[in-house]
Each structure stands twice: as C-alpha cells, then as structure tokens.
C-alpha cells in the first residue's frame, strides 16, 4: 500500500466515522441538523421522482382508466335500465294489488284484468284500447272499472283487443244515484274530458262532496259502482233540473290496468222505449 492510498483510506475512515456518529445521534444538535437536511433532501427528490414517474406512466393509466370508465358507464346504463324495469314492475304490482283488493271486496262480480294499450286517434273521442278481446270472453257492453271506480264500458271487440268508451266521452251518459241526496241523475261526458251531472230533481238537496254511484237504471251498468264526488251545484229556480260538476274518482289520464266485469250482461231496453207517434 503506497502513501497515497493510505491517505485516502484514512480520510474515508474519518468521514465514515463522523457519518456513523452523526446518524447514531452522538453528535447532538449537529447530528439532528444533519439528518433533517438529509431527510428533507430525500423527501424533495422522492416527491419529484414520483411526479416524474406519474408523468411517464400517465398515458398507460389514462387508457386503463378510460377502459374502466367505459365499463362502469356500461354497467351504470345496465343498472339504470334494470332500475326502470323494476320500478315499472313495482308500479304494476301496486296497481294489480289494489285491483286484487278491489275484486276481493266485491266478490259478486268476476273480473278480467286488461292493460291499456292505446287511445282513440281522434281528439274528439274518449276511448281506450285494451289488450283483451273475444278470446278472453270479453263482450260488448261489459263495464270496465279500476279499484278507484267506473271507467266506462266495452264498445267494440275483436279477437285480442277491445275498445272501451270512457264515461268522459261526449257521447257517454250514465244513470247515477247520489247517495247523500238520495236522488237519481244522469252523468254526461264532454269533449274536454270533464264529467257533469244533469237531470237532478229540483227537490233534491245536493251538496259538494256528495258521493255518486251508478244506479243500475237502464241496464247499461251494474248498480253501486263509484263514479266520483260532486264539486259544485248549479240550481236555478226557472230551470226544470239542477246541474252539478263532478270530480271523477278515476284519473283517466293515467289509466294503465283496468278490470272488465265479465259476469255482467247489459240489458237492451230499446224495444221497451216508447216510440213517438205522429200527431193525428
């Protein structure tokens, strides 16, 4: 070993010894200052390195993230579709449960449930189309109800569908009975979809909130089906009858599932109606 390499070895040993003493804390405050500077430097370098590494590897991560994002978006869409379907099923189940309750509480009638699949293309007419027809023993004239009340009656039937005239149709008229006033009247539809009562006797005391039921007169509908409530009454002394506006129990704009009363056969009383004879 020559003198030069011996000198280098000694310097290394001295500096190494000082470093060992510094790391071991034997140098007191000088030792703490030294390690803190070292740690700060390492932290700075480490954070810069991680930043640089992120920058270099970012494109690969973006591709992965985009793929993952697309997968998740597809999953979300699928779940949303499932949610809508389930929500629809829940709504249908709720309606059907209400209809089953209704049919249980009215055991004298037999019912056939049908979905509303369309409406009359003419805005002048208030008809719905249901997905049950003569194949399901649906016949013309059968009353159609929901758990809320009377909807209308079957007007035309084909094999797998039927057209139902709503009580809101302008050509519809239903003989009704006002429960509280204990009197009969006739319920008419209108082009706007509103229903009103006419031919109420002037002697009857009709008030807002009175319940309106079918009377069964005329044989077109069974008795005691709920129609709605009286909203306002118009009574003028010089008129023969009182009139009233009605709030129907059924929401006709949201008809989805209805019940057809299949054991009711309408009675055609036309032959019994008096024929007007010409005056001699």
């Amino acid at each position: 070993m020559n003198s030069r390499s011996l000198q280098t070895t000694i310097i290394f040993l001295v500096v190494g010894g000082i470093l060992v003493l510094a790391f071991s804390g034997a140098l007191g405050s000088a030792s703490r200052g030294f390690t803190s500077v070292l740690i700060d430097t390492q932290t700075w370098i480490s954070s810069r390195f991680l930043g640089f590494q992120d920058f270099v590897t970012a494109p690969r991560d973006i591709v992965t993230l985009r793929q993952r994002n697309a997968e998740l978006e597809a999953q979300v869409s699928q779940l949303q579709a499932q949610l809508i379907e389930l929500q629809q099923r829940v709504n249908e189940t709720e309606i059907l449960a209400a209809l089953v309750d209704f049919s249980r509480s009215n055991p004298e009638s037999t019912y056939k449930a049908a979905s509303v699949i369309g409406r009359d293309p003419s805005p002048f007419l208030h008809y719905i189309i249901i997905n049950r027809g003569s194949n399901d023993d649906i016949r013309r004239g059968m009353p159609v109800v929901t758990n809320q009340g009377l909807v209308g009656r079957v007007d035309a039937v084909i094999a797998d569908a039927a057209r139902v005239q709503l009580i809101t149709d302008p050509a519809s008229s239903v003989n009704v009975y006002l429960q509280n006033a204990d009197t009969s009247a006739v319920l008419y539809g209108s082009v706007t979809g509103d229903v009103s009562l006419d031919l109420i006797s002037q002697d009857a005391t009709v008030e807002a909130g009175d319940l309106i039921l079918t009377s069964g007169l005329g044989g077109g509908y069974p008795a005691d089906l709920i129609i709605g409530q009286v909203v306002t009454v118009r009574s003028l002394e010089f008129e023969l009858f009182q009139q009233a506006t009605v709030q129907p129990a059924v929401d006709f704009s949201r008809l989805e599932i209805v019940l057809v009363i299949t054991n009711f056969r309408p009675v055609d009383i036309t032959p019994l109606e008096p024929v007007a004879t010409p005056a001699p």
Partner: protein
C-alpha cells in the same frame, strides 16, 4: 314493389298515434301523425301512389277509431286531394305547400269530424272544440310538418329512385 313500405310505415304510425301521440296532449288536442304523413307523401314530386297510401290509412284508422268511417275517408282523401292540387301549383315552394296542406287539411278534418259527430247526436260545444281541440291540434301538426316532410322526401327518393323516375 318498394311501395309496400307503406304497410309497416303506416302501421307503425298508427301505433305511435294511438299509444304515444294521443297521450301527448296540448289542452285537449293532439297531433295527427297520419294526416301529416299523407300530406307530406302526396306533396312529393315523384310519388304516384298517394291514393293507395290514403286508402291504407283509412283502413287502419277506421279499424281502431270510433270516428265514423265516412269522416275518416272524406277527411284523409280530402287532404290528399288538397295536397295533389297544391303540389302542381306551388311545386317550387314545397315547404310552403306542406304548411298550407297541413293547415287547411287539419281544419278540414276537424270541421268534418265536428259536423258528423254533431249530426250523430254527440253534444259538442263549438267554442270548446275550437279553443281546446282545433287550435292546439293545428299547432302540433304544424310542428310536425317539417320533420315529417323531410323524412317522407327521403322515403320517396328510396321508393322512386331517380333513374327509374327518369
């Protein structure tokens, strides 16, 4: 042969009319998709089968609607007649012709419906009909006019290709 597209197209239009458009109401009126389609079809220069399309529409609507069949036939064929007459006269301004046919055709159809229903005993108040049905339906039909016209023009180019027409 390509004219057979009338069957699925008009069938789909009737389904849309019955199940969708009749639920999209403005007051008590709604758009008549079939009327607008027929008007747009009859206004196309190359089209020679508008009467066939009219007959098919009458058959479909007569089947599902309670509107008296004479109203349906007179109404839709009246619209077709109007469109063919206007197509010959204002052929250089097709959109003007389309708006005119839809406007006059809707009014004609509504008046016809009103008169027939009134005479058949349906109590209809003319004020209610005009304000709640006719005017809203007119507006909705006019809104449909341009997109349907564009669509039917493309259909007519497909049914009557240029080389065949020439």
């Amino acid at each position: 042969m390509r004219n057979l597209i009338a069957f699925p197209l008009l069938g789909l239009a009737v389904i849309l009319q019955s199940s969708v458009l009749s639920q999209v109401r403005l007051l008590s009126g709604y758009a008549d998709l079939l009327l607008v389609i027929l008007a747009a079809w009859a206004l196309q220069e190359r089209v020679e089968s508008s009467w066939h399309w009219g007959a098919l529409t009458c058959m479909f609507i007569g089947f599902i609607s309670n509107l008296p069949l004479p109203v349906v036939i007179l109404g839709y064929f009246g619209v077709l007649f109007l469109a063919r007459v206007l197509q010959r006269r204002v052929w250089h301004a097709p959109l003007l012709a389309m708006f005119s046919v839809v406007f006059l055709g809707t009014l004609f159809f509504q008046v016809l419906s009103f008169v027939f229903l009134r005479f058949s005993g349906t109590p209809l108040a003319i004020g209610d009909v005009v304000s709640l049905i006719t005017l809203p339906s007119l507006l909705l039909n006019m809104l449909l006019a341009i997109p349907i016209y564009t669509f039917m023009r493309d259909v007519s180019y497909w049914v009557y290709p240029l080389e065949e027409y020439e």
